[in-house]
């Protein structure tokens, strides 16, 4: 049986570490007997994975969640758990999410991954993507999912965090291709990038290979967690067997569709979008033939597996 492993933090000061299978129940997720609300961040990502896995008939993901409001303790618990347990863990897909960047601990996590019997598909977003780039280890990963501001960070060879990114975002949004090229040429890209924005760009080796720009739902941009749901859906689709570019394109389309179905305002909260994911996936997969396999991925790229 295939195993999907998700790791990140949730803002719960009373939680040290929760490890277990995630279940989506209404506006909450249940892990290790604890209930967490579907807030933005890792909870939203896990919620999207659960909704997508359930839609596809897959088993629910295994999760490693630290309670962290920014004080680092929960993040360190997650890093340490991964460092200790990954070498003897089987996982086909590993999705790493909100965490306080710590270059030293991150590099130990990668050492632990290298000790696994088989390297999982490595997906990173949020703090884990930041620290992967800051540590110079981006190419170890298979997929990053930055928004346009985070892409500017990946493309900036000197910035150690998006807060230090140089350049003006309004201009950058008009020139994503240049940023994508720079990200790749500086060695700051994963094997694939899924750049989330007004137009979503799926990229490989510095080039855009797919774009998604419909439906347009302007109100999704200010809603916290809409990037996390793309990451969750993409991860679940990759785990199911979709080629990474098709998983990303499907997730981007379904996220827009879920937004459209929710009829959002800028004040809408992310659990309202997550509730629409099954319907959105059903519509998107009916309209688009995106059922390629990992083997097809290599045919698409013109590269032998």
């Amino acid at each position: 049986m295939k195993t999907m492993l998700l790791a990140g933090t949730i803002p719960d000061q009373n939680l040290s570490l929760a490890v277990g299978t995630a279940q989506l129940q209404g506006t909450s997720i249940i892990i290790d007997g604890r209930s967490f609300s579907l807030n933005r961040g890792t909870a939203a990502m896990i919620g999207a994975v659960c909704a997508t896995a359930d839609f596809l008939g897959d088993t629910a993901p295994e999760c490693i969640i630290g309670g962290d409001i920014g004080t680092r303790e929960g993040s360190r618990e997650v890093y340490r758990y991964l460092i200790k347990h990954l070498p003897k863990t089987h996982a086909d897909t590993l999705c790493l999410h909100y965490i306080i960047p710590d270059i030293g601990l991150h590099n130990q996590v990668l050492t632990a991954v290298r000790k696994m019997q088989a390297k999982p598909v490595m997906i990173a977003d949020a703090g884990f993507m930041y620290v992967a780039k800051a540590s110079g280890q981006a190419p170890f990963y298979d997929l990053f999912l930055p928004d346009i501001g985070e892409l500017a960070f990946l493309a900036d060879e000197k910035a150690s965090h998006p807060a230090y990114t140089r350049g003006f975002l309004t201009r950058l949004e008009a020139e994503p291709a240049e940023l994508i090229k720079k990200t790749h040429s500086f060695g700051n890209a994963a094997r694939y990038l899924c750049v989330k924005g007004r137009t979503d760009y799926i990229c490989h080796e510095g080039a855009v290979i797919q774009q998604v720009d419909e439906p347009v739902v302007e109100e999704l941009e200010p809603i916290g967690g809409t990037g996390d749901t793309v990451t969750g859906m993409a991860a679940a689709l990759v785990h199911h067997g979709y080629a990474i570019p098709d998983a990303c394109a499907t997730a981007c389309r379904a996220n827009r569709m879920a937004g459209l179905l929710a009829q959002p305002t800028p004040a809408t909260q992310i659990h309202e979008i997550i509730a629409r994911i099954p319907d959105a996936l059903n519509r998107v997969l009916s309209e688009h033939d995106c059922c390629s396999t990992q083997q097809n991925e290599f045919i698409f790229q013109g590269v032998q597996p």
Binding site: G70, T71, Y98, Y130, D147, E150, H161, E218, G224, P266
Partner: protein
């Protein structure tokens, strides 16, 4: 504590990033300590300090440092000691260090205004000044900040700088301040 290292340059006569004034760098254990130290020093009228990225040897991936004119070292050390927030280290620097972005952009949604700084966005209902959404970021305090701030007004909410811990919180605070300024 507070010993002075000549980390970047062995020549104290090197030109610094601020013309001929020698620069020092205060290194702390966390972004939160830097945020509090910056506030303390600004309250004490040390106007020439700047928050910057620490040099690579000191980076963990989410960190800030404070650059200051070295001639003000004694006063700065005293103020920080009195506030119980002494730096872990003090070093010389004579290279350009990156500063957090202070640029904001806005997007008007009619009833709502979204303000963005780097990777962080805050959205406010214009009429009531109520914070309705926070998005972006990747550090662990972003969901915590969202839980605390959403539903409060810009005037009644704690600032992200007051309750946050990371560079994402620091960046969100820039957008928060800009929203306050635009809707004042």
């Amino acid at each position: 504590m507070g010993f002075l290292k000549n980390l970047i340059s062995s020549n104290k006569n090197d030109m610094s990033v601020e013309g001929t004034v020698e620069q020092g760098l205060l290194i702390f254990d966390s972004v939160n300590d830097v945020i509090h130290a910056e506030a303390t020093l600004k309250m004490a009228a040390f106007a020439n300090i700047k928050v910057v990225a620490p040099p690579p040897q000191y980076r963990t991936g989410c960190d800030l440092a404070i650059r200051f004119p070295i001639m003000e070292r004694m006063g700065i050390e005293r103020i920080l000691k009195d506030s119980g927030n002494e730096p872990r280290d003090i070093i010389y620097v004579n290279e350009e260090l990156m500063q957090p972005t202070e640029i904001c952009s806005t997007k008007d949604f009619g009833r709502y205004l979204m303000v963005r700084s780097a990777n962080m966005k805050i959205t406010v209902e214009k009429e009531t000044k109520m914070i309705v959404n926070i998005s972006g970021g990747g550090c662990s305090d972003v969901p915590y900040l969202a839980l605390d701030l959403i539903g409060k007004t810009l005037d009644s909410a704690s600032t992200p700088r007051q309750i946050g811990y990371t560079l994402c919180a620091y960046t969100l605070n820039i957008a928060f301040d800009e929203a306050r300024r635009l809707l004042a």
